[in-house]
Amino acid sequence: MVTLFVVSIVIFVAVNLLPGDFAEAILGQGATPESVAKIREDLGLDQGMIVRYFQWFGGMVTLDLGTSFAQLNFANSLGGAGTVTVADQIAPRLANTMFLATVTACIAVPLAVTLGILAALYRNTAFDRAANIFTLSSISSPEFFMAYVLILFLAVLNPIFPSLSNIFDGMPFSERLEKSMLPALTLTLVVTAHMMRMTRAAIINLLASPYIEMARLKGLSPMRVIVKHALPNALAPIINVIALNLAYLITGVVVVEVVFVYPGIGQLFVDSVKIRDIPVVQACCLIFAAAYILLNLTADILSILSNPRLRHPK
């Protein structure tokens, strides 16, 4: 929580390093000082930095994320009073991104753990080597390369999934799932590799332990030795790496959402970055950072829970 507080300060200070401000940016070159002052007053930009920080942070805690500058400007120019708050803008996007991340996790985690166990079981065979080369390649390729290769094969050459994920509210679940399949598959490819390698390494690390030797001498099958005896002891590092990769999903999502035009928070973030919509950028940044920190925290807690020796300290 302290970290999150400090991170919010960093984000706020960074944003305020901008030369000039939004008022000048929207009015452009021909701005008169009076009009700039008017907009500044409207947006509260004429107050000191520290005051604004506490206003912003106070609002953040009460989930009042402020008003998007761009939307405010847009609403004013239309003469309407209906302004859209940042929270209104972010909430549906965040839900979409969560949906995508959940679909990805549902595919990637079981797949990665199964493949990791298989690679550990058949280590140093052709299967293991092929998996090693394949995962190393997919870890090191940029997300958009994976995305375009998938588009080429699954959308253009064999039209199985749509290449644009234009999902909207009220869409039936199955259609929504189908439309977000390609982005989810891309993210799966990116994160599975890392998780699988760590699962394999964690299990293989344990194979020299005396209790594994014992289990083998008892005559258990190799599969049983690994699943019953090695896996529970390898859980802590595996959980850790899964949480890390889910945290990674949050950043990887930005590029993938842009490729597939998926209406998620990453897309919103990139768009607001381009038009310098400061409240939205700040809020998105803070949400990303919060998710990142929370997932890391969860990983620590889970790895303590999975280890009886840490659960019951002497």
Partner: protein
Amino acid sequence: MSGIMGFAIVLAALLLGAYVFRVAGQAVTKNAPTFRDMGFGVAFGYVLGAAILVWAIWYYFQPKVLETGVPNAGVVFFRWAVQGFIIAAVAAFLFRLLGRHVGTAGTRKLFRSMPLTASFGILVILIYAFVAVFAGAIAPYGQAEILGAANVVAGGDPALGGNPEYPLGTDQIGRDILSRLIFGAQNTVGIAFVTTCLAFFIGGSLGFLAATLQGWLDQLLSRGVDVLMAIPSLIFALLLMTIASVWANKLGIPLTIFMVLIIALIDSTRVYRLARAVGQSIVVMDYIEAAKLRGEGLGYLVFKEILPNAMAPLLAEFGLRFCFVFLMIAALSFLGVGIQPPLADWGTMVRDLAPFINFAAFAPTAAVAPLLAAGAIALLTVGVNFVVDWMLHKTSGLKE
């Protein structure tokens, strides 16, 4: 639905095949140990591998053009992939063979124990370095030169919309793609390399300093790094790049310089962590104590005592860090805030050329350009990763 049914039938056939394979093997070899102790999973693996091999060979020899006259794009891409894979394997093998017979005794020994993937990685890195250094001499046209025809398709076949003067075609405003790919090596790889060096200089020296001096400096730096690391790196980079782009306009400094500084700053936090951890285990050694008693200064301690002993992990980290920096620059360029035109850059090229992919079903060569740019990024990072993987494996002495 038929897809799922087909999958189930194929799976059932494979399972049956595996069973038959094992029983037949036991019968033919009169219960030899290989077949007697074979698990069902292993038998299934053999059968699956054989089935994939047979399918691949069958698919490879499918006709390139369907009877309706439409090109069979899947087959074309598959053939390219297979040919590329074979060429890569042969090149790596020849390169390793060359390394085993040419060079000093040390390098020959190194090449003898090298897996094929690592020699492939080294070959790729050498080629990229060569292309990056001599880009101006190799490229047929300038990187920002706008030529006569736009949207020329790759392949150089006039019947398909190509032009032999531009073997890989031209982009949407008529720049030669081959030249831009070659210059992209210079720009993207060069900038990534400079950034990584800078990140190592900042992170490494601060990390060693923190490890040697300890006390409040260590606390201050480490907590600061903790905070910076709590923000996902791509997000933080995007945020800072927005701010930098405004400053760059105002001050008239190229945005690329800001990008190098920002990414170096973000990545130096990761280097700092490693350098500090490695440094901490070194400063407790007796030879550091001896050097301190001799009255050596801080600079001597850091650069002459700690640095040489921390070289192996730092070198492996350098490779990995380079990949991350390279991918981050590519991602930023892809999102439109990285390396700015008119400089040729692979990330920007992918973004600009991406719509061509949609024509792949009609003209496979049209989709080549964006995939080549993205593939160029992927190939280098894969190569570096192969080498780093091998180095780590070698230095850690893992044999399992």
